[in-house]
Amino acid sequence: MSMSARTTLTAQTTTNKGGTFRNLPEMMSHGELRLLPLIIVLMVVWMVMQYLTGGLFLSARNLTNLSGQVAITALLTSGAVLIMIPGFIDLSLGATVAAAAVVAAMAGAQFELPLWQTIVVTLGFGLVIGLWHAFWIAWMKVPSFIVTLGSLLAIRGLSLVITNAETISPSPDILVISDTSLSATLSIAVLMGFWLAFALLQLREWRARTQAGIQSSFLSVVGIPVTSVGIFACGVMVVAVSYRGLPLPVVFVLAVVALTGWLLRYTAFGRRLYAIGGNRQAALLAGINIRAHVSMVFAFMGLLYGLAGLVLVARLDSAPPGAMQGLELNVIAAAVIGGTSLMGGRGTVAGAVIGAILMESLSNGMSLMNLPSAYQSITVGLVLLFAVYADMRGRGGRFGD
């Protein structure tokens, strides 16, 4: 008897899910709406900050300032998620970004390269470090923890050596990166484009599911996510238009977030990264070229070092070789708060970016309240702990592993 002849009976029983609000808790703990609790926490934090700072926190001026702080963290967090999903880690961020900033400043100020060449050199420098990591991790099989810890020490030292431990001033033309803001119309166009692209992808996903005969809830695939992103985009739009327009670094962040998020969700490359982190042995036996995938994510991360270095040097108008110490831990904390697993196999760019916004919001708000940075550390540390605990309970309580 052939399989296909005997087996049409259970087709319907496989698709009895879907539903609407009945499944909300489950959707929140595992499905499409996993990020909702985090967003709610972020909203609460913003409200509290708004109250405690007497309305200063949510002013357009402060939010624009906040966006500058978030930009570097969020850029790097997107890359860090790409590295953490296949089960690796990058501890070198602070040192490599500071070094890239030094390279950018020297290229412009000492070698008097034009701006576009400075940008190419800085991105190239980042890429070289990324490839260096890829070589040791993917080819020589040294744990990424060790390789990037080595970079953290060595590249920080290198920055100090080439600058004689002095802060370098960049050539003024690089400030265009932090001083440029898109015009109101362009800002609206960019944000609308971002939102529309997201909406279209979610809609396509929903259509694919429905057409494949999988009953799936429009609300959870399209309705709630698209509305949330829409509200976020509108908020950013209002702030941007009412102050100075969308700052260029924020555009970079949007571009990188869109790219990495799309890679992870909609490409075979992203799916394989999850597989490598979920079970390396099974991924290998499914024919995945682990070495190539790992090399690519570290090379991509290298480009982000360069980009973040450019943003940093423009923002500070200087390149202190000792800048950004401890950045790597903030980035990892943001990714983990956003639901990325340190063991690999799990995480989203969206979650990590919300994690980054949450952390920067806390420190920004507390600065506004004139609390010493020591209190910021205490708060961020505790938030990290509770966020991971809540996340573990949310999953473990339901599926008991």
């Binding site: 008897m1 052939s2 399989m3 296909s4 005997r6 087996t7 049409t8 259970t10 087709a11 029983t13 496989t14 698709t15 009895n16 899910k17 595992h30 499905g31 396509r204 996903e205 259509r207 694919a208 599911r209 057409q211 494949a212 005969g213 999988i214 909609y266 490409t267 075979a268 490359f269 799916r271 394989r272 999850y274 597989a275 979920g278 079970n279 042995q281 099974a282 991924a283 290998l284 036996l285 499914a286 024919g287 995945i288 070229n289 196999g345 799990r346 599926f399 592993d401």
Partner: protein
């Protein structure tokens, strides 16, 4: 076999406790719905080497884990030297003189032999390790056990067999009364096995009783005084050895005595041309001086043919299958042809490209990404067929997944559900679908129905029939002997890296195959 027969073949129970080093009485253990042990009672006479045999899943290792305190939560009781015990962990069992030397030794490679001998009970002086006593005691003990080793060697530098001997010595220094050896010879060469036997036969002079678990039945007459055979969680035969020569036969009969039922709906298929052919296939062993894992093997599997391979642990059967898929760590020599074309397979990627599919025995470790969805698991090996320029075609993906969920009768709530929530049988169907999506020509199935419930098994066998009918070549390697016999067109028995016998369908009984695979027919 009925309860009466079991009782009749057991030794009378009214002997005084003095004669026995240990007894287990009515041990009953369930894991969820699986009834692993069904009221097992065995007495171990003092000074005996007591062999225990049984197929995989017969309950031997569960019983030994209970006896050595690894697992608890059972009914029945254990007596050690006439005293009833209930162990609260391994340490507790060791305090009562029960030691387990596991098959896969977990020695600490960095520790020195002397340190390992006294691990966790180092001689102390003022709170610090008294190194002088430690080393001198170590030297003395190694001499007692005639181990020609320096106590300063690191455990990692020893061969498997030396590690085992040191593990036994460690148990001896701690006053072992009952020593459990779980397949001690499965990784040893013949010479090492002989040395091991000498040590084991010496044990009784130190007042030690040994329980000896092995698949190598021909070893029993050499070293055991008593044999107990288990099947399906119960004792089915027990006898003392007094110069018999038909022991392997008797044991095999007791081990397998069950019918081939209608469970195996194998359809006859006319086999076509040779699909897969291997010539001089050799897999070297790690470390010099050891026999090759697979030795100069020649093999042809034809289109539409189901080839069953049966081999016990260490026979090389599983090395063979993983090497066919490019997943073996050793550097494999030999030639492989698929459909008459020479192919080179050094990685799973090559194998998939050459049209080979592989269902691994260790499903959780090698086959599944447990936290991920049914969809992600199912399409993982065939993603490049479901993408345009690297971008996933979600419609095509979900459509195919849905088709396989339906045709293979995977019982699930949604295809986006984590695969860890499915039963073993449904997980295995998803793994099968993963390979069907790559449209392979050769299927290698290791333990295809391990941990799979009876209904899903029959579905799985129907799938094998379909694949054979479609002209695929299928290799089944399983330690489930009825399955191998029931589903194969041709059966091979492997022993020590070689094919020792071959039977056409219906040409072999379980006894024949087991005896050949256990090396029993060589004597």
């Amino acid at each position: 076999m009925s309860a009466e027969v079991i009782k009749a073949s057991m030794p009378p129970d009214d002997l005084s406790g003095e004669k026995f080093a240990a007894r287990v009485s009515g041990i009953d253990k369930k894991f969820g719905v699986v009834h692993a042990l069904k009221g097992v009672s065995i007495s171990f006479r003092r000074g005996d080497v007591h062999a225990i045999a049984g197929e995989n899943g017969a309950g031997k290792s569960t019983l030994m884990k209970i006896l050595s305190g690894v697992i608890g939560g059972y009914d029945g009781y254990i007596e050690i030297g006439g005293e009833r015990c209930r162990f609260d962990g391994i340490r507790d069992a060791e305090r009562h003189g029960v030691f387990l030397v596991p098959q896969e030794l977990n020695v600490v490679p960095e520790l020195r032999v002397g340190e390992y001998l006294f691990l966790n009970r180092e001689p102390r002086r003022w709170g610090m390790v008294d190194t002088r006593t430690l080393w001198s005691d170590a030297v003395r003990w190694l001499a007692v056990f005639k181990l020609d080793l320096s106590p300063l060697l690191r455990m990692g530098e020893l061969s498997t067999h030396q590690q085992q001997l040191v593990s036994i010595a460690r148990a001896m220094t701690q006053g072992v009364k009952l020593l459990i050896l779980d397949e001690p010879t499965s990784n040893l060469t013949e010479r090492e096995t002989e040395l091991m036997f000498e040590q084991i036969s010496d044990l009784h002079t130190h007042g030690v009783t040994a329980i000896y678990i092995s698949h190598r039945l021909h070893e029993f007459e050499r070293i055991a005084n008593a044999v107990t055979v288990m099947r399906d969680g119960a004792v089915v035969d027990h006898f003392r050895l007094q110069g018999q020569s038909d022991t392997p036969r008797r044991v095999v009969q007791a081990m397998v005595g069950r019918d081939l039922t209608e469970m195996y709906p194998k359809l006859a298929v006319v086999a076509g041309k040779s699909k897969l052919s291997l010539r001089e296939w050799t897999i070297p062993n790690r470390g010099p001086g050891r026999a090759n894992l697979v030795e100069n093997l020649n093999l042809d599997v034809r289109a539409g043919e189901v080839l069953g391979i049966f081999g016990l642990l260490g026979s090389g059967a599983f090395d063979l299958t993983s090497s066919l898929f490019g997943a073996h760590e050793a550097k494999v020599r030999g030639r492989m042809e698929i459909d008459g074309r020479a192919v080179s397979v050094v990685s799973p990627r090559d194998a998939i490209r050459s049209g080979i599919a592989y269902i691994p025995a260790e499903r959780k470790r090698d086959g599944l990404i447990e936290a991920h969805s049914i969809t992600s698991n199912m399409t993982l090996a065939a993603l490049s067929r479901l993408t345009h320029f690297g971008v996933l075609d979600r419609y095509a993906e979900l459509k195919r997944v849905q088709q396989y969920v339906t045709s293979l009768k995977v019982k699930c709530g949604s295809v986006e559900q984590p695969i860890s929530q499915l039963s073993g049988g449904n997980q295995q169907k998803v793994v099968a679908a993963k390979w069907l999506l790559t449209a392979p020509e050769v299927f290698i199935l290791e333990e295809p129905t391990r941990g799979v419930d009876i209904n899903a098994r029959v579905d799985f066998y129907a799938l094998i029939n379909d694949l054979a009918a479609a002209g695929k070549a299928i290799i089944i390697v399983s330690t489930d002997l009825p399955e191998v016999l029931g589903m194969s067109d041709r059966v091979l028995a492997m022993l020590e890296g070689r094919i020792v016998r071959e039977w056409p369908r219906g040409g072999a009984t379980e006894e024949d195959v087991m005896t050949a695979a256990a090396g029993g027919s060589r004597q």
